[in-house]
Every structure is written in C-alpha cells, then in structure tokens.
C-alpha cells in the first residue's frame, strides 16, 4: 500500500545565517520535492528566525526531511504539522483598473461580500487585500478576473501551530514575560 501525499506546514527555527536558506532549499531539491510556499521572518524570540515551508508529501517523507533539516548546524528545531494542526493564512493583493470600480456596480458588492479591504485607490488603479485560506483568495481571484486584473500576488503561508513548539525551552531561555 503506497502512502498518500498530504499538505504539511514545516516550521523551522534558526539562527540568522546567510547561507541557511540555500541549505534548507537544497534538502528539498536533493529529494525532488517541490516547495509550494516559503516564508521567512523574525520569530517570537529575538534574533531567531522562522521559516514556514509548505509541501505536499507523504508522512514518512516529511519525517525524514525534518531530520535532515534539524541536522543543519544553525537550525534550532524543525516541526511539521498537518492543516488540521495549524492555524494558517495567506494574504493576496489584487490590483484592478480604477475605471472598473466606478463603472461596474458588482465590483463593490464582490469586495463587500468577500470581506476584502481596499488598500489604496488612485485615478488609475485600486488595490484590494484579502487574507484567508487559499480557497477564499482564489474565489476572489475568479470573481475579479473578468474585470481585468492588472496584477495579482499571494504571500506564502503564515501559520502558528495549535500545540506549543517550546523553542525557548530548547534554547534554555526564560520567556515568562
């Protein structure tokens, strides 16, 4: 019986190191695993960075990949979670011709119904922001598309796990703040 692929959110806590992104992505490249999204940012701990990587692979593969990631010297810890175990979001920006906003009545309705926000309006274009799950940002995309999207961009997934990850414990830091 072959195992099924599942979407996993991999969280990697690291020291700040120039070459680390290269090393981490090489782990996926070496195994021919494509990365669906990747974000890096400061974490909740000072000077500790956090990578969030979304991949679609089997459980046994993700377990092995996690160990390879943890093996990197500057990686403090790595975790993987299924969608059920995380709270996650993505943000999308949609740039549309201003003409549409004023001429097409339905556009305003779409924005309202989708709970998106207008970020900016100029004589030439306006920009809408929508944060949510992939299906929400995709739905809005489909709805706006007929009116002519000038640009569209979606961020990588950001997520927090439901269970604690206890990085401070691993580092022996006191975080009773």
């Amino acid at each position: 019986m072959s195992e099924l692929n599942n979407t996993y959110t991999i969280s990697v806590y690291t020291e700040n190191n120039l070459g680390l992104l290269n090393r981490i992505s090489a782990i996926f490249l070496k195994r021919h695993i494509s990365i669906e999204s990747l974000t890096t940012s400061q974490s909740e701990i000072e000077n500790i960075f956090r990578f969030i990587i979304v991949v679609s692979i089997t459980k046994s593969r993700v377990e092995r990949v996690i160990k390879q990631i943890e093996k990197q010297i500057e990686v403090i810890a790595a975790f993987y979670h299924s969608n059920e175990e995380t709270i996650f979001l993505e943000t999308a920006l949609y740039k549309v011709k201003s003409k549409s906003l004023f001429n097409e009545k339905t556009i305003q309705k779409i924005i309202k119904n989708s709970q998106a926000n207008i970020v900016t309006v100029s004589p030439e274009y306006f920009v809408i922001e929508k944060t949510g799950w992939r299906k929400d940002t995709e739905k809005l995309y489909d709805e706006l598309e007929p009116y002519g999207l000038l640009q569209f961009v979606r961020s990588g997934r950001i997520s927090v796990s439901k269970e604690p990850m206890n990085i401070s414990n691993i580092l022996g830091l006191n975080t009773d703040k």
Binding site: G19, N22, R64
Partner: protein, 565 residues
C-alpha cells in the same frame, strides 16, 4: 597599559590553526589566498604545508590523514578553480563522515558578485556537501569562525567544513584572541540515549536465538573498538562489517564473520535474511549493504545504534533506535545483557564460509589459471605485512578484492572511498595516511584506471619523501564497469578498455623506485622487495584481464540472493 599589537587576518588564520593543534596542511596557492601563504612561509617551522599537484589531491590527502589519526584534516586552496577542485574530496568526506576543514581564498569583498577574476560562489557550491560552511569578510571574525569550524568538523558525526575568506579580510588588521568553541546552541553533536530504549534493546538481545551484528565506521569514529569487542564477546554475537567498518575488529577474531553488502561474504549476506535480531552499530544501511530493501531482514527485529538521528528509519525501519555515541551506549548495554554464546548459529556462518571458500575464495587465493589474480597479490601483502599495514584502496574491482582479502590487526587501518566511490582517492589518501602514521607501513592498492586520475600526486610523494608503497593492479580495464558490462550488458565493452602508458617509467620519472611483475614466481619476492624498502616504492602487477569479483548481489536483488558465480 600594554599596547595591543594588531596582526593581519592572514596571520590570524595561521595562529588559529596552531591553537587547534594543526601542524600539517595540504593545499595549493593562488591569487586570492596569497596573504595566507605569505604567513605560512613565516610559520613554516611550526606548520608544514604540503603542496599537492591538484587541489583534489589535497582533499584526499587530508582525508587519508584524518582517517588514520582521527584528527581533522586541513586543506587550503585559492578561489575559483582552486575551490571548485575541492568539491569531490569534500563530497567524499561528507558521505564518509571524515573531519576536514577547508580554507579557501575569495576575491575581495567589494568585488563579490561582480564575476571578478576567479570568483566562484563556493559557499553555494559546497553547501550540499559540507557539514557547515561560512564566508568571512572581516578579519575580526576569523578566530571565532575557525574555532567553530574545527568544533563542527570533529564533534558528533564528523564531516567537512569550508571557510571562505575574502582577500581583504586576509589583509585587514585585527586584535587576535582565541578561544576554542565548546558548544553551539543550535547544534547537538551527541544526542542523548534513552534508558528505555536501551532496556528494550537489551531485552531483544537477551532473547534472541540468532542475532547478527553489522557494524560500520561509527565504531572507529567513536574510538569504541574496545567497547565493541567487550560487547560482542559477552553476548557471543557473530559480527559482520560494512566496508567502512573494516579493521575495527581484528580479522582473526572468532566472531568476525566478514563483510556484508554487494561483494561481501556469502554467510553474513545470506544470514541477514535468517537472523531473528539484526543489531546495526554505527552504520547507515547504505543501498550497497542492503540490496533490495523490500526483502532486507524482514523476518528480524532491528536495533540501530547511531549518533545521527537522521539515520534512524532513513532507509530501514527499525524497532529500537539507540541514539548517542557507541563509546557510551555499548558499555551501558553491556551491563544489561547476559553472557551468552551462539555456537550453533555461528556454525552456520562457518559452513557458508566453507561454501564460499570452495566456490570462490580457493581459486582466488590459489589460482590454477596462469594469470595473476588480484586476491593473491593481496594475500602476499598480508603475509609480508603480517596484517599490520594500513591498506588504502581506490575504487573498483581491486577495492572489493582488497577489502575482502586484506587482513588487519589494528583499527583505523582500512582507508577507502566508501560512500562516494571516488576513483583517484587512493594515491593522495595514502600520502596523507603515511604522513599521519609515519611509523606504520602504508600500502595503496589501486586500479590502472583510478591511478591515472590522480597520478600526478607521485610528485608530492616524491617531494615529501613519504615511503608509501603503491601497488597498481593492472587489468587494462575499468574492471568493475567491464564486469557489469559483461554481466548485464551482454559484454558490450563501451569505453572500458584502457591502453596504458608504461607506469614503471612514469614512476621512475618521479624518481620513485619501481618494478613490474607479471609472473607468479616473481610476485612474492617483488612484494617483499617493496615492503622492505624504506622509500616510496611503485609496483605494477599485471593481473588477469577479464576477471569478475564474486560473490555479488546484483542491483535490485535481495541480500540472500547473493551469487557465487
């Protein structure tokens, strides 16, 4: 108040190396590393730099040195082509867990990214094959980075580290102070073992009727030869080795049942699929060891002792993992296991050995054919060395034969490129081994193909006067590939035949004493002549051209389907 004297980054490199106890470097100079070489010149009484004839040779020499001494091998090279020439040796050290620190020069930091002369992104190139790497652009960072480099290279599961230093950082002045690196908060070199797993493992061992140990280089890297011997002697468990585990247990030890894997011994391969408990000690279930995973030791419970958590369940699912170094875990488990012997079970190995002997080994060691066999050459080396030599092998048929038939009394005596299978490894590695263990006999056994990949290191051997004994087993073929062509590609010998030069003349051209043998009557005396020489010696032996190495597990086959012919 005393005035603080400033030194250059280049001098800081040398001082840092001295603080780490380094007294030997292999390398090759060039533009981007000249300031460091200039300092080397000043410190040449403390630090011996050996100029190899190619940067790849420097890496393998450093590997040979590291493998026989257990110390970190150190390599230097310039930027660009100097740095890229290191890559094969670094990859080899990574896959065979060899501690090595490579220092490369880099273009000045203001030129980074401008495609400057001899600029290559060696950090990017070497990332997938180093345990750690780091670029230094400020002199002040040098001591700390080098301290980290040495700590990472040798701690935990050892491996290669590359430090790339821009030329301006080599010139820049700094205040030198050095403290050794003792910990890195994001790095756990030795994971803790769990008492629970240890107890489970002991219980499995105490209940096993047909246990088999397969040990690898972890025993050697952990300096745990004694602990290992105590463990197997108390439990009485037959013990087989992977190619990198060879020499950790003396060849004549009664529990030594030979080599596992593709060209290993018949008994341990067949019985891998009959044992009820497989105990892996410091080995990583390489595919050359396991054959087809779907049929590998499925009937057995498996215990895996390893220092690297990423090796647990990587290819073979295990029942009980025991993390940590075997230096610590084996004495712990020794307290929990019962004294035992497995004479009947051990007898099975012996009877399968008899079968292998009559079908393969006898003819190999005592050929009835006219042509010389590789194995009889190895046998003569054993006799002359009394099993006390360090044997370095290259890659191919001669490697398999040498590892199958060489005899060892001492650990750290088998040096070969196992995981990467790098042709060209042996000659420079033998130089490094000899410099690391000058009091020992070092014999390199090399194929006619691989010899020509790093043949120029004869120059380094001559220049350093290292009394390496070089044996080329000349079959005029890339023998191992030819064997596969014969067996699996209907004898289509595509580009495997070699028209070779006169090796003896070449060796003599490097002022190395040299001899060629092609007759059995001359073999023994020639080997004695070589072994008795106090200088480097080159011996070419013409061996049977189209000879195959057996036993063999064909790719994709099960270990128990190992073929004797």
């Amino acid at each position: 108040m005393s005035e603080i004297t400033k030194i250059s980054g280049a001098e800081a490199v040398i001082k840092s190396l001295l603080k780490e106890g380094v007294d030997l470097i292999y390398g090759y100079p060039g533009g981007a590393i000249m300031p460091i070489y200039d300092e080397l010149h000043k410190y040449e009484d403390k630090l011996n730099h050996v100029l190899t004839r190619h940067e790849q040779g420097a890496t393998h020499a450093a590997q040979g040195f590291a493998r026989v001494t257990g110390k970190v091998g150190v390599v230097m090279a310039t930027s660009g082509p100097g740095a890229t020439n290191l890559v094969t040796g670094i990859a080899d050290a990574q896959i065979d867990s060899t501690p090595m620190v490579c220092i490369t020069g880099q273009v000045a930091s203001h030129l980074l990214g401008s495609d400057a002369f001899q600029e290559t992104d060696i950090i990017g190139i070497s990332s997938p094959v180093t345990k750690w790497n780091c670029q230094v652009t400020k002199a002040s960072e040098i001591p700390e980075v080098l301290a980290k480099a040495f700590y990472i290279a040798k701690s935990g599961r050892p491996g290669p580290v590359l430090i790339d230093i821009t030329k301006d950082a080599q010139f820049e002045l700094m205040e030198f102070s050095y403290s050794k690196c003792k910990t890195i908060r994001s790095y756990t070199p030795v994971p803790n073992y769990s008492i629970k797993q240890l107890k489970k493992a002991a219980e499995l061992i105490n209940n096993a009727k047909k246990p088999l140990i397969v040990f690898g280089q972890g025993v050697i890297l952990g300096n745990a030869e004694t602990e290992f011997k105590n463990f197997i002697e108390k439990t009485g468990i037959p013990s087989a080795w992977t190619i990198l585990g060879l020499s950790a247990l003396p060849s004549d030890h009664p529990l030594n049942v030979g080599m596992v894997g593709m060209h290993g011994n018949y008994g341990p391969n067949v019985l891998t699929n009959q044992c009820d408990l497989l105990i892996a000690v410091g080995m990583r279930f390489d595919d050359r060891v396991t054959g087809n995973l779907d049929t590998y030791a499925k009937q057995a419970k498996i215990i895996h002792f390893d220092i690297d958590p990423a090796e647990i369940n990587k290819t073979v699912e295990v029942d009980v993992p025991v993390l940590g170094t075997v230096k610590e875990t084996l004495p712990e488990i020794l307290k929990l296991v019962n004294k035992n012997n497995h004479q009947n079970w051990l007898g099975k190995f012996h009877s399968l050995y008899e079968k292998e002997y009559s079908k393969v080994i006898k003819e190999e060691l005592h050929p009835t054919k006219e042509g010389l066999s590789m194995a009889e050459v190895v046998k003569e080396i054993n006799i002359a060395s009394k099993g006390n030599a360090i044997i370095i092998t290259d890659v191919g048929q001669h490697q398999m034969v040498a590892c199958r038939y060489a005899k060892f009394n001492e650990s750290k005596s088998n040096v070969t490129s196992g995981g990467l299978g790098t042709m060209g490894f042996a000659l420079p590695a033998a130089l490094g081994a000899k410099m690391g263990a000058p009091e020992r006999e070092v014999v390199a056994i090399i194929g006619d193909g691989g010899f020509q990949m790093t043949i120029q290191e004869l120059g380094t051997i001559f220049q350093t006067g290292s009394a390496v004994k070089i044996v080329v087993l000349n079959n005029n073929y890339l023998g191992m590939v030819r064997q596969w062509q014969e067996m699996f590609f209907e004898k289509r010998y595509a580009s495997t035949e070699l028209v070779n030069p006169d090796f003896v003349t070449i060796a003599k051209g490097y002022y190395i004493e040299a001899k060629k043998v092609s007759k059995r009557e001359e073999l023994k005396s020639s080997i004695e002549l070589m072994m008795n020489s106090k200088k480097p010696f080159f011996l070419e032996v013409s061996v049977e051209k189209e000879h195959n190495v057996f036993p063999m597990i064909p790719t994709g086959a099960s270990v128990s389907d190992i073929r004797l012919d």
